[in-house]
């Protein structure tokens, strides 16, 4: 790997220098991952705080939703895009996260938010290890089928244990808003959106760091050729289970953020359609890049909103309006695969490349 890196840097040095902007970009890329990712996250967090300071409460919630969807999709990216395991059950981990959060708030009201989040991550990682270990020998369609069963079967548990999990109505709770010291400065919804984004960005930093390191290289080797990776000494089963664990942890954390933002956890929000929409958003955003998670999350939240507005302005019936987003996602999924397999991120980076060359 060392030799590869040297090779990269020499290739970079032979390229002609193009102005100060290009030089800055070079220097940025030369920073170690542990410095670069937190800095980028800090910048993104500042941008979100600035954005929510000018938007209303409804928009704040939507911005918060983009945050947790981004985290969920990034976790799926690690599993599908990098380690090549197709999971259709990511919604199940969001379900676990949301219910863990709801139960903690209801039964341990004294716990602070960050502790709840940490416990949620631990619980969903444990669930991820269980599922990952059970399915580590499966691949391709076998794994997809097994995880699909998980996504369909798990929410039914709420009906099985109605006293604990609230049956089909789910659990409702109220969360504490901004601390008293900040009461006049930020509104409740701004505080919530900021908290969700901070959590999501911290999660993303972990995911991006993992992906840039040895584990990420192992996962990509596994994805590209399992037998060759095994011959090269990569522990196939363990790497797969770890990928499942990390992805489950971020899915659970995203579910916890959702529960925190909405104040409810209901089984009807964790349908198979959610798992499939997450996959659709991932493919739409672009497989194989963390930026894809951001674009996918934006699409997931705003396509639904625009669909409703469009249906309203065209005065389409409720049957059409309710099903518009899912049809739209389905069509996008098919079109992206048929026409533009790199997704939105691929499109944007290609455009950026054209602009750079044109200069």
């Amino acid at each position: 790997m060392v030799s590869l890196r040297n090779h990269e840097s020499t290739a970079r040095d032979t390229r002609p220098r193009r102005g100060r902007a290009a030089g800055l970009a070079e220097r940025w890329r030369a920073l170690p991952a542990l410095v670069r990712f937190p800095l980028a996250a800090l910048a993104a967090f500042a941008a979100v705080v600035a954005l929510t300071s000018v938007t209303g409460p409804a928009e704040d919630l939507r911005i918060g939703s983009v945050g947790y969807y981004m985290l969920a999709i990034a976790g799926l990216q690690l599993l599908i895009g990098y380690s090549g395991q197709v999971s259709l059950g990511h919604g199940a981990f969001m379900f676990i996260g949301a219910y863990t959060m709801a139960l903690l708030v209801l039964h341990q009201p004294a716990f602070p938010l960050w502790l709840n989040m940490l416990i949620t991550v631990a619980v969903s990682c444990a669930a991820g290890v269980l599922v990952g270990a059970a399915t580590a020998r499966l691949h391709g369609p076998y794994l997809a089928g097994a995880t699909l069963a998980l996504a369909v079967g798990l929410p039914a548990l709420t009906v099985r244990f109605p006293e604990l999990l609230g049956g089909s109505n789910g659990l409702a709770f109220s969360v504490r808003g901004a601390p008293p010291a900040l009461a006049g400065v930020v509104t409740g919804s701004q505080w919530q959106a900021a908290a969700v984004w901070l959590t999501a960005l911290l999660g993303l930093v972990v995911l991006a760091t993992v992906n840039a390191g040895r584990l990420g290289r192992r996962m990509r080797a596994l994805r590209d050729d399992e037998s060759a990776a095994a011959l090269a000494g990569i522990p196939v089963g363990r790497t797969k289970v770890v990928a499942f664990l990390i992805s489950a942890g971020s899915g659970g954390l995203a579910g916890a953020c959702q529960a925190y933002l909405l104040g409810t956890a209901t089984p009807s929000s964790f349908t198979v359609a959610l798992s499939l929409s997450l996959l659709a958003a991932l493919v739409l955003g672009g497989l194989g890049s963390m930026w894809g998670a951001f674009w996918g999350a934006v699409a997931l939240v705003y396509v639904e909103l625009w669909g409703q507005e469009l249906a309203h302005s065209l005065s389409l019936g409720t049957n059409v309006a309710n099903n518009l987003p899912i049809v739209f996602f389905g069509v996008l999924l098919i079109l992206v695969i048929l026409i533009w397999p790199q997704g939105l991120h691929g499109m944007f980076s290609r455009l950026a490349g054209l602009v750079r060359r044109g200069r």
């Binding site: 079967g153 049957n319 899912i326 389905g330 048929l338």
Partner: protein
């Protein structure tokens, strides 16, 4: 004991439905190496067409025929328009395309026929311990399986289809139109899927009615080994019986998780399913 016999009988008839849907998955997997996640949606549209035709004409059996024809046409169209373009690319592409089609068709069904459930009649009398409808389910699936076996084993078309699935290059060299054979395979599979949908949907039909059935069918197909039609039939009946016992003795909410448990259990012992032969994977 009485309860046990009741559960066994109901498990047999629902198992027949899972077996039919599993069979349709296996036929497609054998031919094109794709798990058709859009199968429940293709069946769903077929059942809705049957519903509309039955409402318009007042005859259940006209609707039944319409469903089978719809299944045939939809299957062929899916292969031709959506699967053919990604043939030979990464299997993830085909999986995502079929998932996209699933979303589109379920959404369209909701748009046209609304998300509210409509009542949908059984083919025959459904009352009693092992009713006429249960017999019909068992009989029609058995008949479909036998016809399929006869088609593959004894007709020139079946021989060509097997050749196209087994060795496309060699088949093409000996004059088999491989593409046409793949389309035929999808059409037949989707027809059997429509039959399963007609058997599984009553008493109500709504866009998500086949989701759970599909999960059981995938479990059945995987348990039997995705490449073995006989395995799909055995897997379907096996899953039907097991789930019937789980539902009767432990509670109906646990059936899906039980299906997952069976899946994991079987696959951890035999990763390729019960009826798979060990194969060498190429590096």
């Amino acid at each position: 004991m009485n309860h046990f016999i009741d559960l066994t009988l109901s498990g047999l008839s629902s198992g027949a439905v899972y077996a039919a849907l599993a069979l349709s998955l296996v036929i497609i997997y054998q031919a094109t190496r794709v798990v058709n996640f859009a199968q429940p949606a293709l069946a769903l549209i077929s059942v809705y067409i049957a519903y509309t035709v039955s409402q318009a004409t007042g005859s259940y059996w006209l609707g039944f025929g319409a469903a089978l024809v719809t299944g045939l046409v939809l299957g062929a169209a899916t292969e031709r328009l959506l699967i053919r373009p990604v043939h030979g690319r990464s299997p993830l592409n085909a999986i995502i395309i079929t998932l996209g089609l699933l979303l589109v068709l379920q959404g369209l069904a909701g748009m046209v026929w609304s998300n509210e459930p409509h009542s949908f009649s059984y083919p025959l009398d459904y009352r009693g311990r092992f009713s006429a409808s249960d017999w019909f389910a068992l009989g029609s699936v058995a008949a479909a399986a036998l016809l399929l076996f006869a088609l593959y084993r004894f007709t020139p078309l079946g021989l060509r289809m097997r050749a196209a699935a087994f060795h496309p290059e060699a088949a093409r060299l000996s004059g088999v139109r491989v593409g046409l054979m793949l389309t035929t395979g999808w059409a037949i599979a989707s027809l059997i899927g429509a039959l399963a949908g007609m058997l599984a949907a009553p008493p109500f039909i709504f866009p998500n009615v086949l989701d759970a059935v599909f999960v059981y069918a995938i479990a059945a197909a995987v348990v039997g080994g995705l490449e073995n039609p006989f395995g799909a039939l055995v897997g379907g009946v096996l899953i039907g019986l097991c789930l019937s016992y789980v539902s009767g003795y432990a509670g109906p909410e646990l059936t899906t998780l039980a299906a997952l448990a069976i899946l994991v259990l079987v696959l951890s012992v035999r990763p390729g399913g019960l009826f798979s032969r060990p194969t060498a994977r190429k590096v």
